[in-house]
Amino acid sequence: MAHRRGRAGIGALKKKGETSKFTKKAEEIKETSLQSALDTVKQLEIKLTKFAQTHHKAIAKDPAFRHKFLSMCAPLGVDPLTSKKSFWSFLQMGDFYHELAVKVAEVCYAYRSRNGGIMSIKEVQNILVRRGTKFRLNEVVTNYSEEDIVLAIEKLKQLGSGFRIVKVGGTRMVVSVPTELDNDHVQVIQLAQDVGGGITVDMVSDMIGWEDDRVKRALDLLLSEGMAWIDKYEGLEFYWFPSVWKDSFAL
């Protein structure tokens, strides 16, 4: 009996090369799913934020509702209480500064491997202002002033991880490690800021007037803390400071 060989089923399809049609269909389904996901999530971000603003009282007073609301906001990264500065924040109480303190701590931690635990307040501010929801589908601008950040750091001081503000020339730097930075260190960083690039031991001793040993000691500490990077170029050793880059090579 003659069987119809290779004319039915998946074998037939594969032979005729028709599986490409299925792959195409699968791609189409994926595309539409992705598009729907994007659209709906975008809508949800807007709606959740708006709802949070209109009903912030209910959220604050009703623990059961708050719990449900937060369960919706958390996976999307929507900040439910972009707490406005109110009367209470003047007295430095309330969620606004606590939230900011948490965010500042997180930013410092995230960037510590790059800059050793020191960064300019302006840089922290830029990062916080740009930071939106998880998928960044909507433009979210939270306005934090430099003063707000300074106050948040004051609060973080008590936690004993070394959070403090250090003045380097005209710039205020946020330090998030307990390393002791004395005047010498600050002056070296300031020099790097003025020069706007890498500095060598000779440059420092020429411009500030210390003996080589003193310069090396300061640079070595900054190097070991990760606040300075060393670059051996053409026989010379250049020290670079990531924390001052953003300022000198302004965006």
Binding site: K25, I29, T32, S33, L34, A37, D39, T40, V41, Q43, L44, K47, K50, F51, H55, A58, I59, A60, P63, A64, F65, R66, H67, K68, F69, L70, S71, M72, C73, A74, P75, L76, G77, P80, L81, M93, D95, H98, E99, A101, V102, A105, E106, V107, Y109, A110, I127, R131, K134, K155, L156, L159, G160, S161, G162, F163, V177, P178, D220, S224
Partner: protein
């Protein structure tokens, strides 16, 4: 030894390891309000069934009331705890589930507040299982009213039935969808079969329906943000009802988008992982004086599941206060606590016997939270073991070290020609699996205790096994 009182006849409530009420977070149970100095009186004409724990002797006569209670209301139940027991040892707690109460409006009713008789402010509770009770508020009307409002809301919302309700609504809509589209209204004998979509068409249609439902829900669940107070309250309830389904949709879509996205911003999207959301106990919902104590207990429970922290889960047993602060506040999501609150709460942990305590390193002033089982010498030994495992054989340096030590201490037997290994803070961090900041503190403390010696060079500071101590 236990007494025979209304509270003890109720079922026992499980507590967490730090003495807090163990709520059913898998069913989204949320703690709402707590009040102390409460009294519960049974109004049943007959004796309540004697609890098994009450002793058989005649001295444990049945009493119709309990005083000095701490009463906590959650979305699923009402819990009674004995006040004197809170502190070092928490004793037992009992609860009454909301489903055991008569449905509204009879389930709970306010009473009291009259001039001559029936003066105290009460809530009358009518249960299906244990008869009727009066819950008496010694602190006045405001207390009673805020409690009643929360109680009433929970009984209206009936959150404990939500999971069941959800499963019911999910099975029903499937039927109209699966049997075809809107043009299948004439169900003739062959009409049905022809209109039913099969294969890929069915999949496509199901997908489309799902997306449309998601879109519709998103539009409808949020109301129009009216200004009117009552309309606002309505909008809240609408969102409340739809929240569970919405959350499901959100999780699905987030998973889809995550797969598609290149995550280079992972470090900034928060340190919160699978920890879930914590009920934010506020000063209003708990009463001022017990606030920090409850906070301490909650933080303890929160960290007890943290794999990076708990020694018995493989963690290090030590965490900086900043990390605790960020993690905990993120989990609260709202009504965040201030650093002052954190420090005060953590300060109480030791005397509450919660298994962790606050510690400040002298010198640097770094503050950490550490488990009571954590021991500096254990860390020091870990470091030394690591160094010893790295030591190879045959090196000139060994000889130099030996000569120097002999010079200083007289005749000391040391293994010759060993490649002594020293660790920097960064390397120690990798060995101990903690942050470099904490690793540095461990190195310093090990040095203080004589386990290690430091060697400061141009390339940095390295800590070596202390050979002088032998």
């Amino acid at each position: 030894m236990s007494a025979w009182t209304p509270v003890t006849t109720l079922p026992k409530q499980t507590l967490t390891q730090s003495g807090l009420i163990a709520i059913d977070s898998s069913d989204n149970e949320v703690q709402l309000i707590t009040r102390s100095n409460m009294e519960l009186r049974s109004l049943s004409p007959d004796l309540l069934p004697k609890p098994a724990s009450a002793s058989a002797s005649a001295t444990s006569a049945e009493m119709d009331r309990d005083i000095n209670l701490i009463v906590t209301l959650t979305t699923h139940r009402i819990v009674f705890q004995f006040q004197s027991a809170i502190g070092a040892d928490t004793g037992t707690a009992h609860f009454l589930h909301h489903c055991a109460l008569h449905p509204l409006p009879h389930g709970i009713q306010t009473s009291g507040g009259n001039w001559t008789s029936n003066r105290s402010y009460k809530i009358h509770i009518a249960s299906l299982t244990h008869g009727n009770f009066n819950l008496i508020f010694r602190k006045g009307q405001k207390d009673r009213d805020s409690f009643y409002e929360a109680f009433h809301k929970s009984l209206t919302r009936r959150q404990w039935e939500e999971t069941y309700r959800q499963s019911q609504t999910q099975t029903q809509p499937r039927h109209p969808r699966a049997s075809g589209t809107s043009d299948s209204t004439n169900n003739s004998s062959h009409g049905n079969k022809v209109n039913k979509k099969v294969g890929i068409d069915a999949i496509l249609q199901r997908n489309q329906h799902r997306h449309e439902r998601a879109k519709n829900l998103t539009n409808q669940a949020f109301g129009e943000n009216k200004k009117d107070k009552d309309a606002k309250a309505q909008e809240v309830e609408v969102l409340f009802r739809e929240a569970k389904e919405l959350t499901g949709i959100i999780h699905k879509y987030v998973a889809t988008l995550e797969k598609n996205q290149k995550e280079d911003t992972t470090e900034l999207t928060g340190m919160l992982n699978e920890m879930g959301i914590i009920t934010a106990l506020t000063k209003e919902s708990t009463e001022d004086k017990s606030f920090h104590e409850l906070l301490a207990r909650q933080i303890c429970d929160f960290l007890s599941m943290n794999k990076a922290f708990q020694i018995h889960l493989g963690g290090s047993g030590i965490m900086t206060l900043t990390d605790v602060y960020c993690l905990y506040n993120r989990a609260r999501g709202a009504n965040m606590i201030s650093p002052d609150d954190l420090i005060e709460a953590l300060g109480k942990m030791e005397c509450l016997g919660l298994g962790m305590k606050l510690r400040e390193f002298e010198g640097s002033g770094v503050k950490v939270l550490q488990e009571t089982g954590f021991d500096d010498s254990v860390m020091a030994k870990k470091l030394i073991n690591h160094m010893e495992s790295q030591e190879g054989g045959g090196n000139v340096d060994g000889g130099v070290v030996q000569d120097f030590v002999n010079f200083l201490t007289g005749e000391v037997e040391i293994e010759i020609a060993k490649n002594y290994v020293g660790l920097t803070a960064l390397e120690a961090a990798r060995v101990l699996k903690i942050s470099p900041l904490l690793a540095n503190e461990q190195l310093l403390s090990a040095e203080q205790n004589g386990y290690l010696c430091r060697d400061v060079t141009m390339e940095g500071t390295r800590f070596y096994k202390n050979l002088f101590s032998r």
